[in-house]
């Protein structure tokens, strides 16, 4: 299925030269999912009690071309329902294969925060209806920069090391409002060691985080005006150091599949709580049907020390305390579901998730079903 789309591309771009014809591979993936919460006022992951097919549906086309001489180019054009199906380049990078073990990528790349980072949007790659949200919750997943892959086999073990450096510029949601953000000097990497049935992974990243959270501008101005400039600095995201630590372990043997990941995310001198999260998922493959159960824990500790310098009788105290404490979370999510491989490259999924907020005891239940496929 090697398409010579290049003819079209070349014509469109108006490049007259016919010396650099390369073969272009076209692949892609798509998901169509529908979901609804089971209680009238329940909301979860953007779903409500009205059935809806847009929230997690997506379509992506991936073009890759080997330019020869160890150079290749990859682009992924993706439209997400949640984004009104606007077409965007999620990935666009050049690869240079230095030698059998070493490869350098440059361009728009996925940041390897998690075990499934490379296939975040490729639902077909995992058994769940979605990657566990408690853990997979960093609001940006791509960067513009460089990435170095080094893979090596030791006996029956494979080691994969990936180092990245880059920056992200885009919108991050803060208190419900999309806010212009810059995450600079993203530096770090992931290392995975695996054999046939066991895989262990560790990831560490740091970056300077700046978010222009307009929702908080009036509050920050008030703090500065009333002599609490240091408190304002502890609240905002102004080139504040963020760190990400992740661990993962997965097991796949005799049709039993188990996966666990733990992450710890912090942004110093910001009102963002220290976020700890993990999930454990266990499933069993019965031929084409894989039922599973998973548990996710989200434990975010608010930084109460931020508002301590403000005397409680000052009216700003309550506002700042409210903002800071709103960041704390203690949430348990149980999911049961199944994957049905009805086709060689498509799977039907059905998942019921129940998220419980341990502060309010509020439970939200969501039923999701859909098809994930790759082509």
């Amino acid at each position: 299925m090697k398409k010579t789309l290049i003819g079209l591309l070349v014509a469109t771009a108006g490049i007259a030269s016919h010396t650099a014809w390369a073969e272009v591979n076209i692949n892609g993936f798509a998901s169509v999912k529908g979901g609804l919460t089971t209680g009238k006022d329940d909301t979860l992951y953007g779903y409500t009690n009205d059935i809806e097919f847009k929230q997690e549906s997506l379509f992506a086309v991936q073009l890759s071309s080997d330019l020869g001489e160890k150079l290749s180019v990859t682009a992924q054009l993706m439209a997400k329902g949640a984004d009104d199906y606007d077409a965007k380049f999620a990935w666009a990078f050049l690869s240079y294969q230095v030698n059998d073990d070493l490869r350098l990528n440059a361009g728009r790349l996925r940041i390897p925060f998690y075990k499934y980072s490379d296939y975040l949007d490729v639902g077909y790659a995992y058994d769940w209806a979605r990657t566990p949200r408690a853990v997979y919750d960093v609001q940006f997943d791509q960067m513009d920069g460089l990435s170095l892959y080094y893979s090596k086999n030791f006996g029956d073990m494979t080691s994969n090391l990936q180092l990245v450096y880059g920056a992200f510029e885009g919108d991050i949601q803060i208190s419900g409002a999309m806010s212009k953000s810059k995450v600079q000097d993203i530096t770090g990497g992931s290392w995975e060691l695996s054999n046939d049935w066991l895989s262990a992974r560790v990831a560490y990243f740091m970056a300077d985080v700046t978010i222009n959270a307009t929702a908080f501008t009036p509050l920050l101005n008030a703090l500065n005006t009333f002599g609490f400039a240091t408190v304002a600095q502890e609240l905002d995201f102004n080139e504040d150091q963020g760190t990400f630590i992740g661990f993962g372990l997965s097991y796949d043997r005799d049709n039993w599949i188990a996966v666990t990941e733990y992450t710890k995310v912090k942004v110093k001198n910001s009102y963002m709580a220290d976020r700890d999260a993990y999930f454990v998922s266990v499933g069993h493959r019965f031929d084409t049907i894989t039922p599973y159960v998973s548990f996710e824990k989200d434990d975010d500790t608010s930084k109460s020390a931020i508002y301590k310098p403000i005397p409680p009788q000052v009216p700003l105290f309550a506002t700042v305390a409210g903002v800071v404490e709103s960041q704390s979370a203690d949430r348990d999510t149980w999911s049961v579901g199944m994957r049905y491989d009805f086709h060689a490259s498509a799977a039907f999924k059905l998942q019921l998730s129940s998220a419980k907020d341990n502060y309010t005891a509020q439970k939200d239940r969501l039923l999701t079903m859909g098809v994930d496929l790759v082509f």
Partner: protein, 357 residues
């Protein structure tokens, strides 16, 4: 079966060309330019002479030549995964939207048998005869389907549908049953043209059906759809007579004839919304003379307060096996009352080339 192996293509080294499916790419493009020759605009809205050529995406001409309102390009990607499974996408960039690329289709199809196909995802809302290929101008006679008929602000939906196709003696009987929802976070027509505040338009609990009967030179089509409308203006829920939703019902019939070089196209539709009727119809006639098809067309929109019609005169010239040149003159009469004018009277000229590849 270890899925991680299959998906390895998508991992870090996606260069491997593992042939999972047959991918077909086709496309279409329209380049059209036009201008208003004379027009009244709507002084009370501060609107100068304007010809609204495309309601849903707000494509309009003014007194200077513009090549944006009807121009567009599209790519269709169809991946045949075998065993009846297909993934289809249509990527469209329209001049009226600054050529921003958006997926208008993104759906999966599963052929259950030779008669029935199940589909799920994002599709065109098949209200009108030309809804499914609205953007593929090469597929029809005019520069554009009659603006006065194709006016509704929601034209896609996300959901599931079942298509069927049977042969009954000389007739091809085909159709579609669908259900779904569309949530347009900032509807262009309502927010930009008919208002100045951001409007989130939701059509939910959409249920509809289409039945087509074809034989030889005759083509009949029946359409029905019902939905619930929910709307937010500037984030505040809009109430209609105290209710936070309203029910709309759309019904239409279309009869087309293509006989001895004569082409007659008709469409008659009614939307009933909270008891009010919005009636539209179009009648077009053309005659094929070699590569040329001159045509006349009349389209009308009629409701309690919003009333407008367009008389069009034009020609299609099939100068190439997959490209056509078109020129069209439109004369719009806007008889809207009680502040329900659209863009006032206007006379406009448009010409352009439509092609498919």
């Amino acid at each position: 079966m270890k899925t991680s192996l299959i998906v390895a293509t998508f991992a870090t080294s996606m260069i491997a060309g593992s042939a999972v499916a047959e991918v077909d790419i086709s496309g279409f493009a329209s380049v059209a330019g036009g201008k208003v020759l004379s027009g009244e605009g709507v002084p009370e809205f501060g609107l100068g002479p304007t010809f609204l050529a495309n309601y849903p995406i707000v494509g309009f001409y003014e007194e200077d030549w513009s090549f944006k309102p009807d121009s567009k390009y599209g790519l269709q990607i169809s991946a045949d995964l075998t065993e009846g499974l297909t993934a289809t996408a249509q990527l469209v960039g329209r001049g009226a939207d600054d050529f921003n690329a958006e997926f208008e289709w993104a759906y999966l199809s599963y052929a259950v048998n030779e008669h029935w196909t199940l589909q799920a995802g994002k599709k065109r809302l098949p209200l009108y005869y030309y809804s499914d290929f609205f953007d593929v101008s090469y597929a029809y006679l005019w520069i554009r389907p009659a603006a006065d008929n194709y006016t509704w602000q929601i034209f896609n939906y996300n959901g599931v549908n079942a298509q069927f196709n049977y042969q009954v003696s000389d007739w091809t009987v085909s159709g579609n049953i669908y259900t779904g929802r569309e949530d347009d976070s900032e509807n262009k027509l309502l927010s930009d043209f008919f208002g100045s505040q951001p409007i989130r338009e939701i059509w939910k609990n959409i249920v509809g059906g289409v039945l087509s009967l074809n034989r030889d030179w005759l083509d009949l089509r029946f359409t029905y759809m019902t939905y619930q409308n929910e709307r937010y203006r500037n984030g505040v829920r809009v109430l209609w007579d105290g209710a936070d939703t309203r029910r709309g019902k759309f019904a239409g019939i279309s009869a087309n004839i293509d006989y001895n070089n004569w082409v007659v196209l008709t469409e008659l539709n009614r939307l009933t919304l909270n008891g009010g009727d919005f009636d539209t119809y179009l009648v077009s006639g053309g005659y094929r003379i070699g590569q040329w098809t001159p045509y006349v067309s009349f389209a009308d929109f009629d409701s309690e307060a919003e009333m407008h019609s367009t008389t069009s005169l034009g020609a299609r010239w099939d100068f190439h096996s997959s490209a056509a040149f078109k020129v069209q003159f439109d004369d719009v009469t806007d008889d809207g009352i009680n502040g329900q004018m659209v863009a006032g009277d206007s006379k406009a000229i448009t010409f352009g080339i439509d092609l498919v590849f």
